[in-house]
C-alpha cells in the first residue's frame, strides 16, 4: 500500500509538473566522478547517469565504489536522503 502511494505520487508529479522536482527514487550504481558534494552515479548503460548531492562531501576515493540510496529530484540534482557507500 505504501509503495502504491509513492508510485501514484511519482506518476502524478511527472504528469502535472514537467519540472524535475519532487520525483523521489531509489538508486544504485557506481560512483564515476566526485565534484565537491555532487557525485555522478553510473546506473548502467540503459539508464542515464544520476547526479546526487550528499550532505557530506565525498573524497575522490569514492570513485569506483558502489553506492545506493534514496533521493529527491530538484532541478537536475537528486538530493540524497540516504546514501550508502560500499566499504
Amino acid at each position: 500500500m505504501r509503495i502504491l502511494c509513492v508510485l501514484l505520487l511519482s506518476v502524478g508529479s511527472t504528469v502535472f509538473s514537467p519540472a524535475k522536482a519532487a520525483d523521489a527514487l531509489d538508486f544504485q550504481g557506481v560512483v564515476v566522478a566526485v565534484n565537491g558534494s555532487i557525485i555522478e552515479v553510473d546506473r548502467g548503460s540503459s539508464v542515464a547517469p544520476l547526479y546526487v548531492r550528499a550532505d557530506n562531501a565525498l573524497s575522490e576515493t569514492a570513485v569506483g565504489k558502489m553506492v545506493s540510496g534514496s533521493c529527491v529530484m530538484r532541478g537536475d540534482l537528486c538530493t540524497a536522503t540516504v546514501l550508502n557507500v560500499e566499504e
Binding site: 508510485l7 531509489d26 538508486f27 547517469p49 532541478g75 540516504v82
Partner: protein, 480 residues
Amino acid sequence: MNMRTLVSGAGAVAVLYAFTSLIPAVAQTTSPFQPPDEKLGVYVSNSGPGLDTGCTFRSGGPLLINIDVPIVVGETQINADGTLVDANTLVNRGIIGRKAIISFPVFDIDSSAAVRPPDSPEVDVVSFNGVTKDTLTGSNGQWTNDSIEVDISELKFGMPNELRIDIDTQNSDELWCMAVDWVSMQFDVALPYVLAHGINTTGPDTWEPDITRQLDDFGVRYTFFTVGRNGSAAANATQLNTNIKSFLDDIKADKVHIIAHSKGGLDSQALKALGPEFTIRSLSTLSTPHLGSVVADINIIQLMNADRLVNVGQDPNGFISSLLSVTPWAGRFSNVPERPGLDDLTTQAAATALLNRQRNNISPTFAYGGNADTNGDGTLQSSERPFVRADIPWNVMRNFTQARVVRTFTQPGFLGFGTRTVIEFRAAVASAPLRNDVVVTANSARPSYVTDLGVVLENHSTIVDFSYVEEFLNRTLPLR
C-alpha cells in the same frame, strides 16, 4: 555487500527501482551536432577545458573554453591584445566581415522549466572575452545548437578567445547542470596573398619596402618567399608549393591569391600545373612574359657556346648585332638572368608550355604590361632607361618577335686549323613597333587569356608599384 550510511534523511521512501527510468537523462558525451570543418574563417575547439565535461553544475564551473583564431589579416593590423587596430576600415574594405558567429551545442538547458518558488529555471550566462552576451536557451535533457553573434572588433587574433558560461546563476542552491560539446567561430575574411618574385632577384629585393609597407597598411594577410634566383619555373614551383602550403596551413586556408612580377607569374603557373593541394584562386601579373621574350631567345642562343652566331633574318637597324655585341643581357657580365630560369623565358618555351597547358591554367588572371617609352617618342631616352644601355634590348623587343635557331654546323677554323661551330638563327621582324618595358613586351605580358588591365608607362622595375598591386587587390578581394 558491506555498506555504510553517509547520509540519512528523514522520511526516506522506497521507490521501485524500475521507476528510475522515468528520470530524465542528464548527461551525454557527444551531441548529435557535428562541428564544421576548419578552414579560413572557420575555427573549432572540440577538446580541452570546458568541453565534454558531462552535465556540470555551478560548482564545477564556470566553463571556460578557448578558441584559437589565427592572424588572418595583416599582422600590423593586430593590437598587442590580439584585437583589430581598425576593424571598421578592414570591414569597409571587404577584408573581413562585420560579425562573427560563435556556435556551440549545449546540453540540458532547462531555461523553460516550471519550478516551484523559490527555485528559478536554469539561467546560464554566456560571456565572450569578458563581455556578457546572452543567456542560453534549450530543452531538458536535449542537445541544442546555440549561438551568439559578436562584433569582429571583439575577436582576438593570434591568441585564444574565451567563451565563458556561468551555470545556473539564478538559484542559491545548485539545481541545474549543462554541458558543451564543441565551439566554432565563423566569420567572413579575404583570402591570403602570396607575392612571387621574378628571375635573378629575391623576394625582399622585389617587394620590400614599398609594396610590403603599403600592403601592411591595406590590411590583407600576405607573405612572400625567395625561390631559386635563376631556378627553372618547375623547380621554383616546387618550392612555392611547399612554402605556400605551410603558410596556408597556419591559418587553415586552402585558397590563395598570387601577385607576381615577371617570371614569378610563370613560376605560379608551373605551380598550378603541379596540382597543389590548395586552390590558386587568382593570379595577378606585372609584366610576366606569358608569351616569352625575344631577348631571352637570343640570350639562350648566345649561351650555346658557338664560335660564331649568324642572323639569317633581317636586321635593318643593327639592333640584333648590337645586342649580340655589347648588351649585358648577353651573359657576359655578372648578375644577369641565367639558365635554367632563362630557358623558361623564351618564346619557344612559352609555345610549348601553352600547348601543354602549363600556362593559361589559372582563372582569373589579371595582368599589366609595361611601356618604358614614357614620353612616347619612339626612342628610349637616357632618362627612361633603367640601366645605361637599356635602349639595346628595348629596341630588339620593339622590333622583333622571336629568334629561333635555323641550323648548327661546323666549318674549318682560321687558316684551316681545327673547326669552329656556327649557329644560324632567324630573328623575326615585328609587323609594327611593339611596346615593351625593356624586358617584356606589352603583348607578351597581356595574352588573350588574361583580364587585361592595360599598358602602363613603366619599365620592368618601376612596374612593381603599389598602385597596380592595389588594383589587383580591388579585383581579387571579393573572390573567396
